[in-house]
């Protein structure tokens, strides 16, 4: 039997059972109970007994106890009289209203419960305990589930260097730079110090700092450069960091040095040359200072550096920036333009699943009008709404 079937049958049993439980007293003859005043009589009888006990214990003197006895006696008498009056009043066994209400109840219980549930519930959605999701065959898992599995594996085997090695760039790509830092550090610790790993670590640190090349990251990039002096990428990051810090002269000098040392036909020569010219102007005061401009996207140097890279390097750099954006949105999610950029970037990077996931996450945090704005963008980009989009039920 399919899961939804089991659910509907269980729900039906619950409904019928609950309805029966409240209906039974309505249709069954109830043994006539004592008059309501009889219950009062019991209380006052109890009180009289207590009074006797208290007097015996010496908790109350004789005069007060007599007074109290008289008072309770009066209440007792009054209630006993009421019992007699009650006895003459009849309790109806037949009642049209009751029959009508019985019918209404039988209809109302399923009507209300099923009516509301079909509007608010998701009967077809099975429960998804994490452990079960992680034990599914890999080909049925989502990328996120695969990552979680790898994480679970690494929690148990923290010394599996190969695992960290695989996971580290993935973390960086999906916008979890903090985890990427840990993963790169572990990979370096277990698999040895290489330029690629150091470069990844530096990128992760940069992404974690919202694209800012921190002094720590700079040190890492310098170390990567020591390990592989021919690799241009760490140098681009170092230059970027210097420009962020306003150390324009140093940046210019390094670019100049790179241009001098590089063969004439490197693909990034033109861009680097342009950057050099711009820097020269800035240093001489002809152009606005780029170092203090608040960054909303990649800055000039990043674009130039990207243009000068091989296509693989460029993709990596773009991904670092996208990861940085995703991380930023995690912290300040109420930013519809940011989400828009992120979704667009994923589409450009040909990562539709991530785009849809980002769309879903955005919808959870944004207000309705902003969601509408985002939906329009998604439609433009050709992202289908169902079935991948998380929906609020």
């Amino acid at each position: 039997m399919s899961q939804p079937m089991v659910f509907w049958i269980s729900a039906a049993i619950l409904t019928v059972g609950a309805t029966l439980l409240v209906l039974l007293p309505l249709t069954r003859r109830v043994k006539p109970s004592a008059s309501d005043s009889q219950y009062d009589v019991e209380v006052y009888r109890d009180q009289l007994l207590e009074l006797d006990a208290d007097e015996q214990r010496g908790l109350i003197d004789h005069v007060s106890s007599e007074q109290a006895r008289a008072e309770i006696g009066r209440r007792l008498l009054k209630s006993a009289k009421a019992v007699e009056v009650d006895r003459t009043s009849i309790r109806p066994q037949k009642s049209a209203l009751r029959e009508w209400l019985t019918l209404a109840t039988v209809i109302a219980i399923p009507l209300i419960s099923w009516g509301i549930y079909t509007k608010t519930g998701s009967p077809d959605l099975p429960a998804q305990p994490l452990a079960e999701r992680l034990s599914r065959p890999p080909d049925q898992s989502t990328p996120a589930e695969l990552i979680a599995r790898a994480e679970a594996h690494l929690t148990l085997n923290p010394d599996d260097g190969q695992g960290w090695e695989v996971l580290a760039p993935i973390y960086l790509r999906i916008g979890r730079p903090a985890d990427a830092i840990t993963a790169f550090q572990n990979a370096i610790r277990l698999n040895g110090d290489t330029a690629t790993r150091q470069l990844g670590l530096g990128q992760a640190m940069t992404a974690a700092a919202d694209g800012k090349v921190t002094p720590e990251a700079e040190a890492v990039f310098k170390h990567a450069l020591e390990l592989d002096p021919k690799d241009m990428r760490p140098q681009f990051f170092i230059i970027d960091g210097w420009m962020q810090q306003g150390r324009l002269t140093e940046a210019r000098d390094l670019i100049r040095k790179l241009l001098v040392e590089a063969p004439a036909d490197v693909p990034w020569r033109d861009q680097a040359q342009a950057a050099l010219t711009r820097l020269d102007q800035e240093i001489s005061g002809d152009a606005p200072d780029v170092s203090n401009v608040e960054k909303t996207g990649p800055d000039a140097s990043q674009v130039e550096a990207a243009a000068g890279m091989s296509s693989q390097d460029r993709a990596e750099m773009i991904e670092t920036m996208v990861a940085g954006l995703a991380e930023k949105l995690k912290q300040s999610p109420d930013d519809v333009e940011g989400w828009e950029r992120l979704v667009r970037s994923y589409v450009v990077l040909n990562r539709p699943n991530d785009a849809i996931e980002a769309l879903g996450r955005a919808k959870l945090v944004l207000s309705a009008d902003k969601v509408a704005q985002l939906d329009a963008v998604a439609k433009d980009l050709g992202l289908e709404d169902e079935p991948g989009t998380p929906e609020k039920n």
């Binding site: 659910f7 269980s10 729900a11 619950l14 439980l21 409240v22 007293p25 309505l26 069954r28 109830v30 109970s33 004592a34 009889q38 219950y39 009062d40 009589v41 019991e42 209380v43 006052y44 109890d46 207590e50 208290d54 214990r57 010496g58 908790l59 007060s64 008072e71 209440r75 006895r87 109806p92 009642s95 209400l101 109840t105 109302a108 219980i109 209300i112 419960s113 509301i116 549930y117 608010t120 519930g121 998701s122 959605l125 099975p126 429960a127 998804q128 305990p129 994490l130 452990a131 999701r133 996120a144 990552i147 979680a148 912290q331 879903g360 079935p387 991948g388 998380p390 929906e391 039920n393």
Partner: protein
């Protein structure tokens, strides 16, 4: 499927609740036994369904089912198991589910223990309970559904607010809710009695165990909340007059008055208006607390999500129930028969005095809590009403009340002899005076306030004991007779004594810690020492430790006594939770008898040291021990055999019918 079944059970509970809200009440009006009889099975079924729903949500938490939005937003797969359970109510939706679960639990209890209740009263009480239940179930389904799903499910949750990741979350909210919601039963009894028009001594007898139950849980809940704030927030304070605290304190004050008032009504059939009104007010204040905390009017750790829609919904519930019950009260109050007469100086008079002061105190707290909110919504001006306001208003109101407490139980019903009572309390009074003198001597007369505070505390404690001594007749009869009497005393006598004694204990703690506590803030480097409360604290080192879902900077300290030997070590830390990017403090606390050494870690200083705050808190634990003892007193009274009244016996019934 479990999740969806829980969702369905919740909706079904709403449907049944509506039936329970309508049929029994109509039945009571038409004297129709069959319709009234629906109340009991309906109450049981609603409880069972909500419990099923709660279990389903808990299962989703424990199994980290992130396809449930509520679980995704408030849990994390790496969270320790205990917090997966407690995290269920560590958020708005889940805590509202707990609220209705406890409400339906109390209804089920009334249904179970209600054999001694007149059928019409029982039907009406359960009916009114179902009105409240239906309103809140509708609120949950419409605005705060904990079973909302996400598809596709995220792989990891957003974790629980780190401040709530504490054993306190396992105890404080359930206990507080048992108190808050427990008073709904008193409210339902009051409204039922007003509908029915039968308000007499017997009614008070039936309502008293419920008032006691709710009161003792509320007492425990508040005490626990206070201790939690004390050790978790790292400020070393135990009460902040925070609006959320006040929201729980107001029903406590009104509930305490209700407890005493119901006693008078039961014994003398007097103070009916007081008792009914207090029953309505106490629960109204509970509802007000729910509104303040849940609507987003206030911002605090208790405000999980702010959503104006929810606020309006709760406000509507609030207006409906408070307004409706007060209107009913105004309409019916004139029909109440006057009860027993009494002189101003009498047990009844003392309890009226008690009611007056407690309700005025509650009103004071209410003003202090609402005034800033009203002012801000009207003029936009932000003011904060803090400790100074409450010290000037609430404090003076409490002083005469506390001073009068020992007199109450000693006064006779109807007309008391205050001089005779004063004579009997002479011993307690003189010992209290000696205590005042001793403190003045010790502090070289600088601690006048402390001296009188401690004197008052001693007076309260000894006054409570005096009552017990007089009741057993120690000194007047032989020791064995007195002991026999002591054993034979009803438990409620011990309950009263213990609760009044505990009041003194709490007061002693409050006075001691407010006047004699010492605080030092300093930068410490490893090896540095600081003196606190006769001990010396040495800072040893810091250490970073990683745990399942947080990293922790631990400060290790050693406590040395006056002769320089090591007594114990102390650990104070700061935790960082990466998922929420939040930091919490875990104060290092060592208890020496009733006093505590409290160490809180601040930020790292530039030169390698750490900012450390060190408090010596003399007798601070008495504040909460007093609360626990008050709970104990409530329990003792609750288990007094005399609160168990039999239903009219079957034999008597059939005999009565035979003669009719």
């Amino acid at each position: 499927m479990t999740v969806e079944l829980g969702h369905f059970a919740l909706v079904l509970a709403l449907a049944l609740s509506i039936v329970q809200a309508v049929l029994p009440v109509l039945g009571a009006r038409r004297n129709d036994e069959r319709m009234m009889a629906v109340a009991v099975p309906a109450a049981f079924t609603v409880f069972a369904l909500i419990a099923l729903s709660f279990v389903a949500l808990t299962t989703a938490y424990v199994l980290s089912d992130f396809s449930v939005q509520n679980v995704f937003e408030n849990s994390h797969s790496q969270k320790p198991l205990l917090y997966k359970f407690t995290g269920v109510w560590g958020n708005h939706e889940g805590s509202m589910l707990l609220w209705v679960l406890i409400l339906s639990f109390f209804s089920a209890l009334v249904a179970f223990f209600g054999n001694n209740l007149p059928p019409a009263l029982k039907a009406n009480v359960l009916g009114v309970q179902a009105w409240i239940g239906s309103a809140f179930l509708l609120f949950i389904v419409a605005t705060s559904n904990p079973f909302t799903r996400i598809n596709p499910a995220p792989i990891e949750g957003q974790d629980l607010n780190p401040i709530l990741q504490d054993i306190g979350l396992a105890i404080h909210p359930p206990m507080l809710y048992l108190g808050y919601v427990g008073f709904s039963v008193c409210f339902s009894f009051a409204v039922a009695a007003l509908i029915d028009g039968r308000i007499d001594a017997a009614w008070a007898r039936w309502v008293r165990p419920w008032a006691l139950t709710a009161w003792l849980f509320l007492t425990g809940g508040i005490a626990m909340g206070s201790y939690w704030a004390y050790y978790e927030l790292g400020w070393g304070g135990w009460w902040f007059w925070d609006p959320v605290e006040n929201a729980s304190f107001m029903p406590w004050l009104a509930g305490t008055a209700l407890l005493h008032s119901a006693l008078v009504m039961e014994k003398r059939s007097a103070l009916k208006i007081w008792t009914i009104l207090l029953a309505i007010l106490t629960f109204s204040l509970s509802l007000l607390g729910t509104f303040l905390v849940r609507s987003g009017v206030l911002t605090s750790v208790h405000t999980f999500a702010t959503d104006p829609g929810r606020g309006l919904f709760i406000l509507a519930i609030l207006v409906l129930f408070i307004g409706g019950s007060l209107a009913l009260f105004a309409w019916r109050a004139q029909t109440l028969e006057p009860g027993g007469l009494f002189q101003p100086i009498s047990r009844e008079g003392a309890l009226v005095f008690n009611n007056l002061f407690l309700t005025t105190a509650a009103a004071t707290v209410l003003i202090g809590t609402l005034y800033p909110l009203l002012l801000e919504s009207l003029t936009g001006e932000k003011i904060s009403v803090g400790a100074p306001f409450f010290n000037l208003t609430f404090g003076p109101l409490m002083l005469p009340l506390l001073a009068a407490v020992p007199f109450g139980p000693l006064l006779a019903w109807k007309r008391g002899d205050i001089l005779a009572v004063a004579q009997r309390l002479m011993a307690a009074f003189f010992i209290a005076l000696i205590a005042v003198g001793l403190v003045l001597y010790q502090t070289s007369a600088s601690g006048v306030l402390a001296a009188f505070g401690i004197g008052l505390a001693v007076w309260l404690m000894l006054g409570a004991i005096t009552d017990l001594v007089l009741k057993t007749g120690f000194g007047k009869t032989s020791a064995s007779t007195a002991f026999q009497r002591l054993v034979g005393l009803p438990r409620s006598v011990f309950g009263t004594t213990l609760a009044h004694f505990a009041l003194g204990v709490t007061l002693l703690g409050i006075v001691a810690v407010s006047t004699f506590a010492t605080e030092s803030v300093l930068v410490m480097k490893p090896g540095d020492t600081i003196a606190a409360g006769g001990y010396t604290l040495r800072f040893d080192r810091t250490e970073s430790v990683k745990s399942s879902n947080y990293t922790e900077d631990q400060g290790h300290f050693t406590v040395l006594n006056s002769s320089g030997t090591e007594v114990t070590v102390l650990l104070s830390s700061k935790r960082f939770f990466p998922v929420r990017k939040m930091q919490t403090t875990e104060a290092g606390i060592k208890t020496f008898w009733f006093s505590q050494l409290y160490v809180s870690l601040g930020d790292a200083a530039k030169d390698g040291g750490v900012v450390v705050r060190v408090w010596w808190k003399p007798l601070v634990t008495l504040i909460w021990l007093g609360g626990v003892a008050m709970m104990g007193g409530g329990c003792l009274s609750l288990f007094d055999r005399r609160l168990r009244i039999g239903a009219p016996a079957k034999a008597k019934l059939s005999k009565a019918r035979a003669t009719a």
